[in-house]
């Protein structure tokens, strides 16, 4: 049957049996979960037993794309990797931009299910003609850049590579899967899952034409959307600096993660800001597949000790992670550390947290220099930072203590270090201090994959648009970052927009931050692309269903209201003086949680979705599945 928007097929790869097969995409399921993250989690909960060991052959790794991937839709370039996470023990899900997702569509697949474990290191090559599992023993230990180079030499420059680096092969729990060298599906340890399957890379070259159901309508929609994006006030700053502009913006707001969240202003922010980077090292703009906003950049260091360093990037997280978060004021050194992290194939957020956590433990005397393999972990000591990153990647010495993530590291170290481990549900939080952004604080606390900003991105709280806040979220405070009221409803809304972006596998810059695709418009473009007669309410319901299904999954794994929390510092220690309006602020999580659970239709006492919410979203079977696991489930 001819397929529109979707490629129409799912590839099933059993690495243990060495068998590859294909099945048709179930369109009813596609309509309920859209694609990408949504279809992936729907498949994951069917495929695995809840208690499966994430690193066992019984876990599956699912690669998913959305119905707009491969089309002209701006930023529909992404790909989701979903599994049970070895880092957090709950939902593992991470996505990357670049060019891999569209190429998979062109090969004719919406989704790839990878199960089992290969008996020797292998890679998967997918083309129009199907897929084959090929030996990768010669690629063992190669870094991300070397791996891509070797595979492109074999399969041609038009092929796309998603691969793991040596850190994943060594079992670093926060290792990621990397596309186009630096486009990282880095969060929740999907690289570690891939490594556990004996899979070094997935290479795709696809040339099947992709069609949409109503070409004229589709093109008209894209032209109108482009105009909306190009005339948006956010357009120019995003093109000029991408996410790196956040470093100075958050520093000005007094909530830039500085020396492991000990304060919110970095006195050397100007030396390492996105603006400085652009003025000094930027070579050109870069974009993901089909994107109207070239928000990424390519830089090159031409002189000094790091001369010759060149790469696409960085994003804000990597830039701040290896500068302000660890107290480093040398921009080029920070970029070099990020480059090491990328090549080794590790999550920059988790790595920077583990390193800065160790530095604060060192400062407070919780760990000695001897325990840290003799490293002088004083703030700003770039040599020690880089050595520690290298040790984590190879799980050597003290690096081995950190390589399972900060929650595990604190458990091993003890001595009160648990309070300094900046994670939620085992996933390290990013480079903005939650005390200065209460909506993001809540978003981090409730995110289905653990401490993460990309599940909600409630940037609305920066707008100071009180009128819109009242109209949209019933409280003028919702538009102000330091206020708590209304944030429950804000986070609910933006979680659903994020679910939309992740399920279309399109970029959150436009859909979430710039809000250029309200649900009605999403329905319009999906009608034109897929032929489904979606309306806005159905699309929003699908997004709500995705959020709830993920919640059911982690609830079944034991997550409750008490887990929807933040590290003690953000709740109890006021932001120090010198951080502008943020000084003196803490996060009052409970009132935001109450509001959020009510908005979601979840039990305010436990954080468990109510039976009526599950019925409304067509997730009835989860009421009994949760009851079987003794989850207290109420009807209202």
């Amino acid at each position: 049957m001819k397929s529109y928007g979707y490629a129409g097929r799912i590839l099933d790869v059993d690495l243990g049996a060495g068998k590859v097969s294909a099945e048709g995409l179930d369109l009813a399921s596609a309509r309920r979960y859209i694609g990408g993250r949504g279809l992936n989690v729907a498949r994951l909960v069917r495929e695995i037993g809840l208690d499966v060991d994430p690193l066992s052959p019984e876990n599956v790794l699912i690669i998913g794309t959305g119905p707009l991937d491969g089309t002209l839709f701006p930023g529909a370039a992404r790909v989701n990797f979903t599994s049970k996470s070895p880092q957090t023990g709950i939902l593992g899900d991470s996505n990357a931009g670049g060019f891999f997702g569209p190429e998979l569509k062109f090969a004719g697949y919406d989704q790839v299910i990878i199960r089992g474990r290969a008996d020797r290191l292998s890679y998967l090559f997918i083309s129009d003609d199907g897929a084959e599992v090929l030996p990768a023993v010669d690629l063992a230990g190669l870094d991300v850049w070397e791996t891509q180079k070797a595979l492109l030499a074999r399969h041609g420059r038009r092929a796309q590579v998603a691969c793991i680096g040596p850190a994943a092969e060594r079992g670093v729990k926060f290792s990621g899967i990397f596309c186009n060298l630096v486009r990282a599906a880095a969060r929740t340890g999907m690289g570690a899952v891939m490594a556990s399957k004996g899979l070094k890379a997935v290479v795709v070259r696809g040339t099947r034409p992709l069609e949409v159901a109503r070409p004229d309508e589709f093109l008209d929609f894209i032209r109108a959307l482009d105009t909306r994006i190009l005339s948006h006030p956010e357009y120019k700053p995003r093109v000029a600096l991408g996410t790196t502009r956040l470093l100075s913006a958050l520093n000005a707001a007094g909530c830039l993660a500085t020396r492991h969240f000990q304060t919110g202003r970095f006195e050397h922010a100007d030396e390492v800001s996105g603006e400085t980077l652009a003025a000094r090292l930027r070579v050109k703009g870069k974009a993901c597949f089909s994107c109207t906003i070239p928000c990424s950049r390519f830089f090159e260091v031409k002189s000094g000790p790091y001369a010759g360093l060149k790469s696409e990037g960085p994003e804000f997280e990597g830039l701040a992670g290896f500068t302000s978060r660890v107290g480093v004021r040398d921009l080029e050194a920070g970029l070099a550390t990020l480059d090491m992290c990328n090549r080794a194939g590790m999550d920059a957020i988790s790595t920077a947290e583990c390193v800065s956590f160790a530095m604060e433990c060192f400062e407070r005397g919780i760990i000695s220099r001897k325990e840290a393999d003799g490293l002088d972990l004083t703030w700003g000591n770039i040599g020690a930072v880089q050595t520690l990153v290298r040790k984590i990647a190879s799980r050597e010495g003290f690096g081995d203590v950190l390589a399972d993530g900060v929650r595990e590291a604190a458990r091993k170290i003890g001595r009160g270090s648990e309070d300094l481990a900046m994670h939620v549900k085992g996933l390290e939080i990013f480079m903005a201090d939650p005390r200065g952004i209460k909506g993001y604080a809540l978003g981090n606390a409730v995110a289905s994959r653990g401490g993460d900003h990309l599940r909600s991105e409630p940037s609305f709280e920066f707008t100071q648009d009180a009128e819109a806040a009242v109209r949209r979220f019933g409280a003028r405070e919702a538009a102000f970052r330091l206020e708590h009221k209304g944030k429950g409803r804000v986070v609910k809304h933006f979680e659903e927009l994020c679910a939309l972006a992740d399920s279309l596998d399109a970029c959150k810059n436009t859909i979430v931050n710039m809000e250029v695709l309200p649900f009605d418009d999403a329905a319009t473009v999906l009608r034109a692309a897929t032929g489904f007669d979606f309306d806005g309410a159905e699309v929003q319901a699908a997004c709500e269903r995705i959020v709830n299904l993920e919640r059911c999954f982690i609830t079944a794994l034991g997550i409750r209201r008490s887990d929807d929390t933040l590290p003690r510092r953000f709740r109890e220690e006021p932001m120090p003086a010198g951080c502008g309006a943020t000084s003196g602020s803490t996060v009052a999580l409970d009132e935001m949680l109450d509001e959020y659970y009510k908005a979601r239709g979840w039990d305010v006492r436990t954080g468990v979705p109510t039976a009526s919410t599950l019925r409304r979203l067509g997730l009835d079977e989860w009421a009994s599945r949760l009851a079987e696991r003794d989850v207290p489930i109420v009807d209202q």
């Binding site: 180079k149 420059r157 050109k284 109207t292 906003i293 070239p294 696409e312």
Partner: protein, 267 residues
């Protein structure tokens, strides 16, 4: 032969000589004349010199860069002093200009330094021509090297001497008299690929099923890829002519000036 006047047209950087906008010298035959009290920069002169004999002469080829290029930049990257070469009067005994009766024509211009590598040009090209998304059906391609940040749009530039047309053994390729784009006669094409090999810009591929070459047809004079390009890396206009104001009908290009960079790859 024409007489020439070379004028400082624009200074984008800083010239410490200094040359000033409006300064000029004249060329007549083999002689350079500088107005009294004025001077000419040695460095700029050495980069302009090769152009002078060419601009003195009538060039029959009407769509070649050489005949259309009138601006030359000083090689000092900090200076960015740009000179304009004007012709003074008419050459004796000739009634027509080098461009022929219709003058210079617009063509596809590529500045790979501006290309962000999104490949939207490929998508819009295949979609508007074939109503499908496929790089194999596109008449433009972006060659990419991730590790070096290279993104190079490959597209027909309507060369003066179209080697593809010359190379075709079956006479299937010709030039559109109006737009100068290369036309493909499907009935005559044997799919041999001689044009693909002859193109110096790697701009031609063969249709995956029909076998005939896919060559940019300029979309009839308003190329869709140019409309969709968010950075201005591909444009449609006169080679060598600076475009200071954004063109109407080109919103993508007009609003995407992210870098204070070199907008002009054809100086």
């Amino acid at each position: 032969m024409y007489d020439l006047r070379v004028v400082v047209d624009e200074i984008r950087g800083f010239c410490d000589l200094p040359m000033e906008v409006g300064d000029y010298f004249e060329v007549s035959g083999g002689r350079i004349t500088i107005p009294d009290g004025k001077f000419m920069c040695l460095w700029a002169l050495q980069s302009i010199l090769p152009m002078l004999p060419a601009k003195q002469r009538n060039i029959v080829e009407d769509n070649d860069w050489l005949s259309n290029t009138v601006r030359v930049a000083c090689p000092d990257p900090n200076g960015m002093v740009i000179f304009r070469i004007e012709r003074v009067g008419q050459p004796a005994g000739e009634g027509k200009t080098e461009h022929g009766p219709r003058g210079p024509r617009p063509r596809m211009l590529v500045n790979e330094k501006l290309c962000a590598g999104c490949r939207a040009c490929e998508l819009i090209c295949s979609f508007t021509h074939e109503r499908k998304f496929s790089d194999l059906l596109s008449r433009i391609h972006v060659a990419k090297v991730d590790e070096d940040g290279i993104d190079r749009p490959l597209v027909c530039r309507q060369c003066g001497n179209a080697r593809c047309v010359e190379a075709c053994p079956s006479g299937a390729l010709s030039r559109d008299p109006e737009t100068r784009c290369v036309l493909v006669d499907q009935a005559l094409c044997g799919g041999c690929g001689a044009c693909v090999r002859a193109c110096p810009f790697d701009a031609i591929t063969l249709h995956p099923e029909r076998g005939a070459p896919l060559i940019c047809d300029l979309c009839g004079g308003d190329p869709e890829c140019v409309r969709r390009c968010p950075t201005g890396a591909i444009s449609y206009g006169l080679a060598g002519v600076s475009e200071k104001a954004p063109r109407p009908g080109a919103p993508y290009r007009a609003s995407a000036q992210g870098t204070p960079g070199d907008q002009e790859g054809n100086i």
